[in-house]
Symmetry: C2
Subunit: 376 residues, 2 copies
């Protein structure tokens, strides 16, 4: 067991990196996809299943957990790993993104944000120091700085103000986090869709010598080419020997294209959320099980998959479960979707090691483009 | 593998019977509890889990399945066992009970019932012959006669009319079912809370020489002593060498007291429905996880249980999941509840074999009466 947080690049292929993050609670193979376990549960999944699919780390949402069940309570109960029965690494966001998107009566100033809970209206204050304190109470392994994430499109002056504020908050979070060798606090590059601001943000964060760097404020409404441009500009500004985490991204296609630009870590609600809405990610693209074409189809989602949800249940049955709003629909489709995402990450890691990432990515993309099986 | 439906009483203890139903698809250890798989799924459970808990047979609801996905469709897809991935025995009800409780614009006469679907309003007709046809399309192993179940309290003349109609429908179902050696069609004793009608119904059905006998129209609003009186009166009228199935019953206490009166089979939505409403059945009684007393409780529901849901998750976590309306709450509590019901049935079977059923039942009842653990 390692005692210190560390990151090693094991292989590269173009800008794509195959690496490993080592931490006392486990090793994270990168590029990594982190399933989202918002409120201490990856929705409709048992943690054993999440793990068995090849997840090395999951993400917890600080905002949700601070409201319910409460960070101090989770700490008293032994921390989030024990509470949620996930003994492996956990990354927590800072809470800032959800405060800005979910909370009521928000007021932001230099000190932090005050807001009211979207659940019961009770008042809270979130400062950089409190965010790190909460993430510590949760016992999170990788903690994120509090930042201000600007929805795009936005005025340049607004993007710049938020980016500068986020840098000052990064300093305060670094101080609050202090010296915790087995854990990490990541800074977050902001700057919207403005190249100069992204570069300035990355350079300033780099000066802080953090253990990892996230790229935030993307996949917030801008077209994919804008996001990729920002990655092209930002990644070279980040140190090669530290992990890079693209927050809240994305579709399988987003992931392939971001890995190609040097990103190591991803999280996204898509596979879990889609699973609750009758949608299945497969190597033949995204399939809507609600569609009547599946009603009499005895074929599974993917007969070649290792995942029982993908391989063993007929589309007709899945269609029936979705139409009937059965819990098992979300259970099976979320399972299928996370299996697909994690198998995609495994293919990506294998391809980078083998030095054929571009070819593999092209094959995967061609599979999606070919589309679903013809109807029975 | 046996080819014919058969029933054997292996041991008795007082009126309680330990038996075995043999069928081509498997053996059912009695007294048996059948989890309810309404629409081709035991809600919030994987079939593998249902099986692993010791379920030898599940129940499917003809009414729900005929409306969605449709009996003919299930037949085209290989039958309910294949469709729902449950290769073991399945009992289906006749559809009559749900037609009377859920469907719209019902009209009942000698021929059968016409009604409209509660889902989309489309018209259906259910006759004794169509009920058996549908159950055959589902490939059900134990099929139930169509009957008219009277909600209690009811006027004696009304109870008698429905009972007499149900007897005529039993004859028609028997004819429609014909000769199927590996399967069974059970008749249903009706007669409400009137002893003379129950006896008349049982005697008439016995004359039909059916493969099994259900007791219907109980647990429909009457107090438990009335139900138990009806069992005291009815069971002796039923042949000793045929299984006896008390439909839609019940609480763990109902089950203990009904086994003591000679009942062999049970089904009930309680463990699954309660699991979706934050309620846990345990050897210490029923526990409401929504209650604030559990918010900081690190103890599991039952540290001595073999079921991971009961043994490995803290009450604090379950409380959090219930309050947050997470899918995992229903998944874990349904799992716990079915585990408790099936362990109760195993204890019952063991005790009858050991000849100490009354003592074991008293111990189990004392456990419930002692109540839950004191708060932490």
């Amino acid at each position: 067991m390692v005692e210190n947080f560390g990151f090693q690049v094991l292989a590269t292929d173009g800008l794509a990196r195959r690496g490993e993050i080592s931490m006392p609670r486990g090793t994270i193979r990168t590029p990594a996809f982190m399933p989202v376990g918002t409120g201490g549960t990856v929705k409709a999944m048992y943690m054993d299943q999440v793990r068995a699919l090849g997840s090395d780390i999951i993400l917890g949402n600080t905002y949700h957990l601070m409201l319910r069940p409460g960070a101090e309570r989770v700490a008293r109960l032994g921390g989030l790993h024990h509470f949620a029965r996930w003994p492996h690494p956990i990354l927590t966001d800072s809470g800032g993104f959800q405060v800005m998107s979910l909370a009521k009566l928000r007021k932001l100033d230099e000190r932090g944000v005050t807001f009211r809970s979207h659940i019961d209206g009770s008042p809270y204050e979130m400062t950089p120091e409190r965010s790190i304190e909460i993430q510590g109470l949760l016992d999170s392994d990788i903690q994120m700085q509090l930042d201000e994430c600007t929805a795009l499109p936005a005025k340049p002056s607004e993007i710049e103000r938020a980016m500068e504020l986020s840098l000052r908050w990064a300093e305060r979070c670094k101080t609050a986090f202090g010296d915790q060798p087995g854990k990490a606090m990541f800074g977050i590059v902001q700057g919207g869709d403005i190249a100069a601001l992204r570069i300035a943000s990355a350079k300033a964060l780099r000066q802080m010598d953090l253990k990892g760097y996230a790229i935030g404020g993307l996949a917030v409404g801008e077209p994919q080419p804008v996001m990729l441009d920002m990655l092209d500009i930002t990644c070279p500004e980040l140190p090669a020997d530290k992990p890079r985490y693209l927050m809240g991204v994305g579709t399988p296609d987003d992931i392939l294209k971001s890995v190609a630009r040097g990103v190591d870590m991803f999280d996204c609600v898509m596979p879990t959320r889609a699973g609750r809405h009758g949608l299945a990610y497969t190597r033949r693209g995204k399939i809507n099980l609600r569609n009547a074409r599946h009603a009499d189809d005895p074929r599974p989602l993917d007969e070649e998959s290792d995942c029982p949800a993908s391989r063993d249940y007929s589309r007709a049955y899945l269609h029936h479960l979705v139409r009937s709003q059965e819990a098992l629909a979300a259970m099976l489709l979320t399972w299928n979707n996370l299996a697909y995402y994690q198998s995609l990450m495994q293919q990506i890691r294998d391809a980078i090691e083998a030095g054929n990432f571009a070819e593999r990515a092209a094959l995967i993309t061609a599979g999606w483009a070919r589309g679903d099986l013809p109807p029975v």
